[in-house]
């Protein structure tokens, strides 16, 4: 239990600081001073002392429960990942649930912005879930879905990043999709204010932001674990900083794509990644 709490706290704090770092780097690229690195964390904590109000159009109690559900699924991801080294299939299931929660958070508020985000969440799930299916390529290569066994496999055969690079690229596109201000962040595009979060205030917004920070940490953790191998905490941190920096560069220099274009690009990446990886596995 203490181990779970420790890992969840680390995931939340590191995820928040990485989001802050991303904003800082983006700002520097755009010739702005940018907010302090801990801004995202302070922003999250701020919502816990703000008044929580509920829209008249909200579908109760679903509107409230959805924020707790988002928190619970990403805490579960921490338990499956860093705590127990469990199955990647569970991580895949958690990600699929995340898309459903995004959809429901938007629809339960009754806001037109939330509803648009909800439609986009379903739309983007069609592209992001195939991207996450990259885990099948990992299974075909390593013969296992269990994270601890994948780490052992890489200790003997070297990082999977070298043997299935297209799969790693696909997973990176998925990570990019979850980064704020990314070209694929259509569920939270500024054209729909804050997307599915628009009508969640105070405490509820705080929970959503905590979940997002943990989700960011977990996605980076899964990438580093399954493509590079079991690392020491310092190397995990270094890897996460590198990945966050790369996403910040991409986000700072790319506009948010139109939803149709975003989905088509993601699907193209998924097709190229899956077919290319299978070809690589068969012929090399």
């Amino acid at each position: 239990m203490a181990n779970i709490l420790l890992n969840v706290l680390i995931a939340f704090l590191v995820g928040s600081i990485l989001f802050g770092l991303q904003r800082k780097i983006m700002a520097r690229i755009q010739m702005r001073p940018g907010p302090p690195i801990i801004q995202h964390l302070l922003h999250t904590l701020k919502f816990f002392i703000k008044e929580s109000s509920f829209p008249k159009t909200a579908a109760m109690p679903f509107y409230i429960a959805i924020t707790a559900m988002l928190c619970v699924i990403w805490v579960a991801a921490v338990i499956v990942g860093p705590v127990t080294g469990g199955s990647l299939l569970l991580i895949f299931a958690i990600y699929a649930l995340h898309k459903i929660v995004e959809h429901n958070a938007g629809s339960s508020s009754g806001s037109p912005y939330g509803k648009l985000s909800c439609v986009r969440a379903v739309f983007s799930a069609a592209a992001e879930v195939p991207l996450f299916a990259v885990l099948i390529i990992i299974y075909l290569k390593s013969g296992t879905m269990v994270i601890s066994n994948i780490i052992s496999y890489q200790t003997i055969h070297g990082p999977l990043l070298y043997s299935i690079p297209l799969a790693a690229a696909m997973f990176f596109v998925l990570i990019l999709s979850k980064a704020p201000y990314s070209p694929f962040a259509i569920t939270k595009g500024k054209d729909i204010v804050s997307g599915y979060e628009t009508e969640h205030f105070g405490l509820l917004r705080g929970y959503l932001m905590i979940s997002e920070s943990i989700a960011w940490y977990m996605l980076l953790w899964v990438f580093l674990t399954v493509f590079v191998g079991g690392l020491s905490p310092l190397w995990y941190l270094a890897g996460m900083i590198v990945l966050t920096t790369i996403t910040a560069f991409i986000n700072a220099t790319t506009p948010i794509l139109n939803p149709n274009h975003s989905i088509m690009m993601q699907v193209s990446f998924a097709v190229i990644g899956i077919v290319g990886s299978i070809v690589l596995l068969l012929y090399i």
Partner: protein, 107 residues
């Protein structure tokens, strides 16, 4: 145990950043325009980065306490109001790296 230590490091960094941000907003009322180096921030940055990167030099206290204190000090400067503390941080990193190179490569 190792996870507890890493949580300690992260908390120290976060607390240092918050304190640094609050204090720098009190100290500097205007947005960053001046090029002058803040000597106090420079000293804190050098101490912080040196302690964090060269914790093994201090043998009479456990390494994780040295690193925690170092992270707090370096975060104080790194977390200052936007624009402030950048030069001081770079100087701190360079001096800490020189000490690290002397300690591990030269000696």
């Amino acid at each position: 145990m190792s996870e507890t230590i890493y949580l300690l490091y992260i908390l120290s960094f976060v607390l240092g950043s918050i304190v640094g941000l609050v204090l720098s907003y009190r100290k500097y009322k205007a947005p960053f325009t001046i090029e002058k180096i803040d000597l106090l921030a420079l000293a804190l940055s050098i101490i912080g980065w040196s302690l964090a990167l060269n914790s093994s030099l201090i043998t009479f206290i456990p390494y994780y306490i040295t690193i925690t204190i170092g992270l707090f000090f370096l975060a104080l400067v790194l977390g200052m109001r936007p624009g402030y503390g950048t030069k001081e941080t770079f100087i701190g990193i360079i001096i800490a790296l020189i000490i690290w190179i002397i300690r591990t490569v030269v000696l």
